[in-house]
Assembly symmetry: C2
Homo-oligomer: 403 residues x 2
């Protein structure tokens, strides 16, 4: 695409970063803010509290960047050396630079104009850095670079239940070479894959046309795996669908041990739809608290369709919820058999007096198997409700054409 | 200290880092591991999925580093370009490099030897990166650089329940200037604070003397907050103490919503001591499944000592476990009152027909409050058992001097 408009570099300073004492969250935050201001970040450096290293990084950054943001090394202790090192590298005197007021801490930020570039120094404490950037740096960059900044547009599709290589291959197959103007990227994690189409430059309308064309091509491929959630979390999608119906949910977990309940309550307001659950780790808990049949446990085994279904139904009835989820599986690292290898998970959803269940053999270690099992169970509930709504919407249209 | 022995650089690769979509936790983890292997990290770079930027970073790193670790950009999709870019920069052919088996994912790591340096490419998925580094990269670096590494010894104390600034001040007060040869560092996270004393250079015996002196000085300060766990996880310590007694545990969670159960089952083998639990998010579940008194719920409120204690006792009895934990609190962001502000948590432990309970007002957001509540409840159980054992050990010595 070539270098249209200003680009940025970020330099994180601090010995505590290089010994791994501190995870650098500032540079991700700054990257996101700069990108959305239309000033893409092209490189980041992390250096210790060393004037030479700081000066080296500044020189390299100024080679190609019109914005250089330093974070850290601005305090009052002797190992805080960023401001003197930057002044030395720029060849300005010890009082030079414009002070940026810090409303939350002792160390103010600093701004320099040099070589057609803006150099900003911010303290390393995340909330102080964010406050100064938001109130003083962002407006300065907008007014300094104006319309030369690169507008960027993105279209994001959340999926779960399909591996990244399979999804990528299928999408690339239906697209052919058609999306030449956009950058296609896949962001996989244990919970699923986000597909993102990004366009830099051009108008919002042109981007929307591209996104519409993209949607038409890929909707068949992503459809069965897709969910809608502004924040990207399937729980948010499930909460939304349950909330629309006024339905409540209870969960029964064996191998996931509480992870599903934790996921459902990670955000506030879960009490609107979530009533609670039973962690039925031991089989006696499955029997005594969920009413799973002792003979089924014996004949089918704890990891079976029948047990998952009885868990889902049992917990909904015991707790008095409209819907129930049951999960039972072999999360490893021990406990696998030839019939039920590690990763075997049965999960079931109870809703409207019906039960649906699926089983999968998930890959990965214990953490991956548990995350994937929870996500698959949530997806089963989500798609069930969404499919029902689509059918109902269709029926309404058929029966009542006055709508 | 000057450049004695090998030093390392880390290059993180990925457009998702530069747009701020992903916080780079890999480079902190790698920095900590390399530092403790005696190979200090002198610089880190973050670049996008661009062969030129990757090659630039490699060239700059090889100027001064004998170890260069890349993370990210090793998958199977077209935007994963690290291996080809590194091969191109090194001038080797497209099959070159030694494959490093990935036990947890699709993309193997790669290792190259060039210009007296070791270059290692690891996938960006944190658990895969950690598995490959631990099993294959660390042993290779140890054997490759042997005694030229800056030998480093460390002594680590795990604590929970005391804030880092308080702990640091108290430890620095009892130490005075006595630990001149060692570097003292504090590693805080939501679950507690690790205190680490590191010595670089010298013999193991000299380090042990220093660590012994350190222990004598700080044991009074850290004692009430300390736990022993080879992996650093308080759950491991709790599992060990319960395991020694042959005792089992059940949990009842309100605001933590399953997080405690998840923590207890994060590692395999939890069925040795953990039987299950009840996620009593809605008050009706506290009544119906745990036997919490409806009148106590009404008069004291759900977030109260009495409810936490009845939850702990109720879940132990219903599930048939020797010990029970109950947690109830206001995790936010809504639900706070003047009496019970956000962060107020009551937690209780039932054991040997007794109940102990505590309450705290935890700081931070919802995630922090929930993590801290779980950790505090586990600590209450752990210290109770440990104190009992100390008393019992003392009695045994007093009664049976033949031991």
């Amino acid at each position: 695409l070539g270098a249209v408009g200003p680009v940025a570099s970020i330099v994180s300073v601090g010995d505590e970063l290089l010994v791994g004492q501190t995870v650098d969250t500032n540079s991700a935050w700054l990257s996101e803010r700069l990108t959305s201001l239309g000033i893409p970040v092209e490189r980041r450096w992390t250096v210790g509290d060393s004037p030479e290293r700081i000066a080296d990084a500044l020189a390299a950054a100024l080679d190609s960047s019109q914005v250089v943001v330093f974070s850290g090394g601005l305090g009052t202790t002797p190992d805080d050396r960023t401001s003197d090192a930057v002044r030395g590298a720029l060849g300005v005197n010890s009082g030079a630079g414009e002070s940026l007021e810090n409303p939350l801490g002792m160390a103010p930020g600093l701004a320099f104009e040099a070589n057609d570039s803006v150099i900003v120094l911010l303290p390393g404490v995340p909330r102080e850095l964010r406050a100064i950037f938001t109130a003083q740096v962002a407006p300065r960059l907008v007014s300094r670079f104006g319309d030369s900044r690169r507008q960027s547009f993105e279209h994001r599709i959340h999926t779960t239940g399909i591996p990244e290589p399979v999804l990528a291959e299928q999408i690339e197959e239906v697209l052919g070479d058609e999306m030449g103007d956009g950058d296609l990227a896949f962001y996989p994690d244990l919970r699923g894959v986000d597909v993102v189409l990004r366009v830099r430059g051009g108008t919002a309308e042109a981007a929307r046309h591209l996104f519409d064309a993209f949607e038409r091509r890929v909707s068949g491929v992503v459809g069965p795996f897709r969910y809608e959630s502004p924040g990207g979390d399937l729980v948010e999608a499930v909460a939304g669908t349950l909330g629309e119906l006024g339905d409540t949910l209870a969960v029964a977990e064996s191998c996931t041990g509480g992870l599903l309940g934790k996921r459902l309550t990670d955000n506030g307001g879960a009490s609107r739809f979530f009533r609670g659950g039973v962690i039925a780790y031991d089989d006696s808990v499955k029997r005594d608290l969920l009413g799973v049949s002792a003979s089924v446990l014996q004949t089918e085994g704890a990891v079976s369709r029948a047990v998952a279904e009885q868990m889902a139904r049992g917990v909904a009835l015991r707790i008095g919820a409209d819907a129930g989820i049951g999960i039972t599986g072999v999360a490893g690292p021990g406990g696998g058999t030839e019939d039920k290898p590690i990763g075997t998970v049965w999960y079931a959803v109870y809703l409207n007096d019906c039960v649906r269940s699926e089983h999968r053999t998930f890959l990965g270690d214990r953490e991956a198997i548990r995350e994937r099992a929870v996500q698959a169970a949530l997806a089963l509930l989500y798609h069930w409700i969404m499919d029902d709504q689509r059918v109902m919407d269709g029926q309404k249209v058929a029966v009542g054409p006055e709508r």
